[in-house]
């Protein structure tokens, strides 16, 4: 006889962990803190997001908004970055508000704090105070330059971190032909904010493993600048190994095109394409229909091809001009050559690969109604990434957390609300 198992939601990897995300009260890397806390929430940790009363967290004020109508409950960034979080409002600049926040931190495992070190000290929520008061707590500072860096109180952000890291200097990659009119370029969107978020998430879970060995929390200092510098590490490697006259070292001192770019124009748009190593070169030759020019012995080795990259790129662009993105993608991949269409966001949203893997997810949100958004950054077979609740309404969980969890009476909460503290 068939036994029917009762339906059970799949388990969640980080079930049981308690995380608190503090609001940014000035201009620090709040998107990074939001992304870090989202990473924990989406894999099952209980994340309490603390927001300033009335205004809410800063991403609520950023677009995109539906039909360009600003609404703190339905902004795209808020809906995306705050999935699975519980929302409470607390005025951290008020002493009674801070007492509430400290009560929240007492049972927490991890706190993400995206405030300026100076301001943290003024408010008494700096990492020294917090780690001393809560010896098991993992205090993750998320700042522009590092909470202990000599640059700690400087202003930064996505633009400044990208350009001070060396990544902006190399972007666009080998497409600069007129340096004075093509300045160094930042990446689309706010890549360094989200990178810093993932860096903080990784670092926080490392500290959790540290706590398993000795029971103690610690301060984890995550900065946007070093997080971005970590992305340029190949350059740091050849800087310390090569001589200043080597070709790789030379590349560090110019933005001007000297080598193969990553993307090329084709018949109906652009594709990425790379035939650098021998295997790819042989594949590209077949994909392109064995044109005669590719038989030149100048192109026989990786170094030979690097030395004659102009001639090779001219030939590749010539071929691509007869191919659509789809044709180039199909023909190159059939010969195992790295090549992908350059897709716009609309094409990303509609592509069949993401659809087949159910990458985008739909959820119902009380204020925003039906919302579609990017889903799992990684598919876990046993403890899948999933949304159990949409982004919180402002103060939605005040009663549940401040009343139920930390035991403030209804009368007290009413008083705090009347005073604008929650």
């Amino acid at each position: 006889m068939t036994r029917f198992e009762p339906f059970r939601e799949p388990p969640r990897a980080l079930e049981g962990l308690k995380v608190v995300e503090l609001p940014c009260l000035d201009t620090m890397a709040f998107l990074a803190a939001s992304m870090a806390a989202k990473s924990f929430a989406d894999f099952g940790a209980e994340v309490v997001k603390v927001e300033p009363p009335q205004t809410g967290s800063q991403e609520r004020a950023l677009g995109p908004f539906r039909d360009e109508m600003p609404d703190p409950e339905t902004g795209g960034l808020h809906l995306y970055l705050n999935t699975n979080k519980l929302g409470v409002t607390i005025d951290l600049e008020n002493r009674r508000g801070r007492d509430l926040a400290l009560d929240l931190l007492a049972p927490a495992d991890i706190v993400f704090n995206p405030n300026r070190p100076e301001l943290n000290e003024q408010l008494g929520i700096d990492w020294r105070t917090l780690t001393a008061r809560f010896p098991k707590l993992i205090v993750v500072s998320i700042t522009f330059f590092g909470a202990e860096s000599p640059y700690r109180n400087l202003r930064g952000g996505d633009l400044v971190a990208t350009h001070m890291s060396g990544v902006g200097y190399e972007t666009p990659w080998h497409q600069v032909t007129d340096p004075s009119n093509q300045p160094p370029l930042k990446l689309g969107g706010r890549q360094s904010d989200y990178l810093t978020g993932y860096t903080a998430a990784a670092a926080a879970i490392c500290a959790l493993y540290s706590r398993m060995t000795n029971g103690a929390g610690q301060h984890v200092d995550v900065g946007q600048w070093l997080s971005m510098i970590s992305m340029i590490r190949p350059n740091l490697g050849f800087y310390s190994h090569e001589t200043p006259d080597s070709p790789s070292f030379q590349r560090l001192s110019t933005r001007r095109k000297t080598g193969a770019q990553w993307v090329y124009p084709c018949k109906d748009g652009w594709v990425s394409f790379n035939a650098g190593i021998d295997r790819f070169w042989r594949g590209a030759k077949k994909a392109m229909g064995n044109p005669e020019w590719m038989d030149s012995e100048l192109f026989d080795t990786v170094l030979g091809r690097a030395a004659h990259i102009d001639a090779i790129e001219a030939g590749v662009i010539d071929w691509l001009s007869t191919q659509t993105r789809a044709e180039a993608f199909e023909k190159a991949q059939a010969e195992h050559v790295p090549c992908f269409p350059v897709y716009s966001p609309a094409e990303v949203a509609g592509n069949r690969q993401y659809k087949a893997r159910k990458f985008f997810i739909d959820l119902e949100h009380p204020a925003a109604r039906e919302v579609r958004m990017p889903g799992a950054p990684c598919k876990f077979t046993r403890t899948p990434w999933r949304i159990v609740r949409g982004a919180p309404l402002l103060g939605e969980h005040n009663q549940m957390i401040l009343g139920g969890r930390i035991g403030r009476s209804d009368a007290e909460l009413a008083g705090l609300a009347a005073a604008g503290i929650i």
Partner: protein, 402 residues
């Protein structure tokens, strides 16, 4: 005394190129025993990308050394069944298996997840690929920088009204590698609590798309297909890279409010610009952004970069120099930061390489120089797997070990 959080954890690491090796460098620094299993059939091409002091060789790549710290290397010919058996013996004593080959490669070596759970039921395996393990395009090959085209990032990276751009720093490989650390340890925590391992299927493209919510949400909510806007921002102006005096010298400036704009104008010696009705409010600055940028550039290009940066920072503005890597290495704070570590490599000696970008208050990070290819083959076979010297000699003779 700090902790070594992952002491006792072992990683059978088949990763190559950038993303997975970066992830396992974190795990190694945290005390895990990372055993990098290299194959003669497909040596990591990064081993030959650049060299040391002018000469190239399998153990001379500065890039390889910058990415592969804190691990051991064993070199096997994985095409041979006996080599696969050695790999399986390592995996039996491991907690993680990590790899980023093209879909199907591990199966060719009889080392797919389905093979491995039979011999190590609680193994945690992570595979990183361009587009994931299933779906119609799963077989696609690519590096991170080619794959991000598919994810939408090249389209929104570029100068306004211009062409899509490739990104420096071999983006997104190291971003993906960093996130992998989080995924692996999340899975380990679940295993610690329940005894159950699992398989993690990471698509680089999907990972990249999770980092572009502005553009994706705008399309999904409004049907608006965003294009590249250079260094600009939709909610700040000026927000850009401006020329400073000298050749190819640039300064990045982000202005978050009208008040900051007034400070910027004052610092640039043009206080009247702050009250110009075209520019006084954010709305006007966004509407007249090209004219605004020309006005700013005309004033920045007369000043030496670092002087101007200091002036703007003194006023609390978000400004910084645009660094090449060479200039970054001379930054007084970065060049002394403990992210740069001096490690000993068996062939090229002591060199400075980047460590983790994070400072931990109570963890002793354990950095060891990158291994030569197969440097620890004998050690791993003897100490971990209990092979005798005679057996090892035979396996070398048979070209199972390289």
């Amino acid at each position: 005394m700090g902790t070594r959080p992952l002491q006792g954890i072992r990683v059978a690491d088949f990763g190559w190129i950038y993303s997975v090796p970066h992830a396992t460098a974190w795990l190694g620094a945290l005390g895990a025993d990372v055993i990098r299993i290299e194959t003669s059939g497909a040596p990591d091409l990064v081993r030959f990308l650049t060299g040391t002091d002018g000469s190239i060789g399998a153990n001379r790549s500065g890039i390889f050394h910058a990415i592969n710290s804190s691990r051991r290397s064993i070199a096997l010919n994985l095409a041979m069944p006996e080599a696969q058996e050695i790999a399986r013996k390592i995996i039996r004593q491991s907690d993680f298996v990590t790899e980023n080959f093209t879909v199907g490669n591990m199966a060719k070596y009889n080392l797919a997840y389905d093979d491995l759970v039979k011999i190590k039921p609680d193994i945690i395996m992570l595979s990183g690929t361009p587009l994931g393990q299933d779906g119609p395009l799963a077989a696609s090959v690519g590096f991170g920088p080619t794959t991000q085209a598919f994810a939408g990032l090249c389209h929104i990276t570029g100068y306004p009204d211009s062409f899509p751009c490739g990104i420096g720093g071999t983006w997104p490989d190291f971003a993906v590698g960093t996130a992998m650390v989080f995924f692996l340890l999340a899975a380990l925590r679940y295993r610690d609590r329940t005894g159950e391992g699992q398989y993690l299927d990471l698509s680089m493209a999907e990972m990249v798309t999770t980092m572009m919510p502005e553009a994706m949400m705008d399309f999904l909510m409004n049907g608006r297909d965003q294009a590249a806007i250079g260094n600009r921002d939709e909610s700040m102006a000026p927000h850009g890279v401006f020329p400073a005096a000298g050749d190819d010298q640039w300064i990045a400036i982000a202005t978050a409010s009208d008040d900051e704009f007034a400070k910027l104008c004052e610092a640039l010696g043009a206080p009247s610009m702050a009250s110009d009705p075209k520019f006084a409010r954010l709305f006007g600055r966004l509407a007249n952004v090209e004219e605004l940028e020309r006005e700013i550039a005309a004033r920045t290009r007369v000043s030496p970069r670092d002087e101007l940066v200091a002036k703007l920072r003194a006023r609390g503005l978000a400004a910084g120099p645009v660094y090449s890597t060479l200039e970054l290495m001379e930054d007084p704070v970065f060049s002394r930061s403990n992210m740069l570590v001096k490690l000993k490599h068996s062939e090229v000696g002591e060199r400075v390489v980047p460590g983790l970008p994070v400072n931990f208050g109570a963890i002793d990070l354990e950095y060891r120089g990158a291994p030569m290819i197969g440097e620890h083959t004998d050690e791993v076979l003897t100490e971990l797997l209990g092979y005798s010297a005679a057996e090892i000699a035979r396996l070398k003779e048979a070209k199972v070990l390289i």
